[in-house]
Symmetry: C2
Subunit: 122 residues, 2 copies
Amino acid sequence: MANQSAQLTDVFYALADPTRRAIVGALGRGPQTVSALAAPFEMSLPSFMKHLSVLERSGVVRTHKTGRVRTCELVPRSLTPAERWIAQQRALWEARTERMARFVETLHEEETARDPVRRPRR
Amino acid sequence: MANQSAQLTDVFYALADPTRRAIVGALGRGPQTVSALAAPFEMSLPSFMKHLSVLERSGVVRTHKTGRVRTCELVPRSLTPAERWIAQQRALWEARTERMARFVETLHEEETARDPVRRPRR
């Protein structure tokens, strides 16, 4: 559980940067070498590598080296817990909104039943 | 667009902390005063307020003061862009996987058509 929370923290932190999100977007189209992946970004290679290592630590991106070439690929299932967490919060909130709406409706029905003047005309 | 990206950065950063995620979870059950919200967390009030202000800056939480009491509530639609962004990445990746699978299938069909020995027996 603590592990899962730490993983969520790492994934959300990895996504909290426009460069890192752009890297994820680029890798969604398929694996790429580090140099091809870095080319469109206007920053030094060391800065780019720092972003890449944040993504790698979070488990969102995986890299492997063949000879002198390092290739990066997305680990799509790594995003599932983050997506699920947000969806759960929404479900929780929507359930609450529905309960509230039902409560207000019941209140209204009780009031109109008690007070004949407020009863809607047929 | 730049604004939307900055908002995504703020929301993902806000969610990149277990205390802040717990605050979002608690507020999913309904609005709460700052003191009631802070009570279950084992930290100083100033530390708690820092987390709350990160959530407020990101737009995930809204607060308002009535007299001396500050009440916090969730802004559920604030999570939508983050949820959508992750879903888009998944869709992009799934489309690519499907294209790959179709390509491999076509390749296999072409090979078996060319080489009668490899044709499956009926």
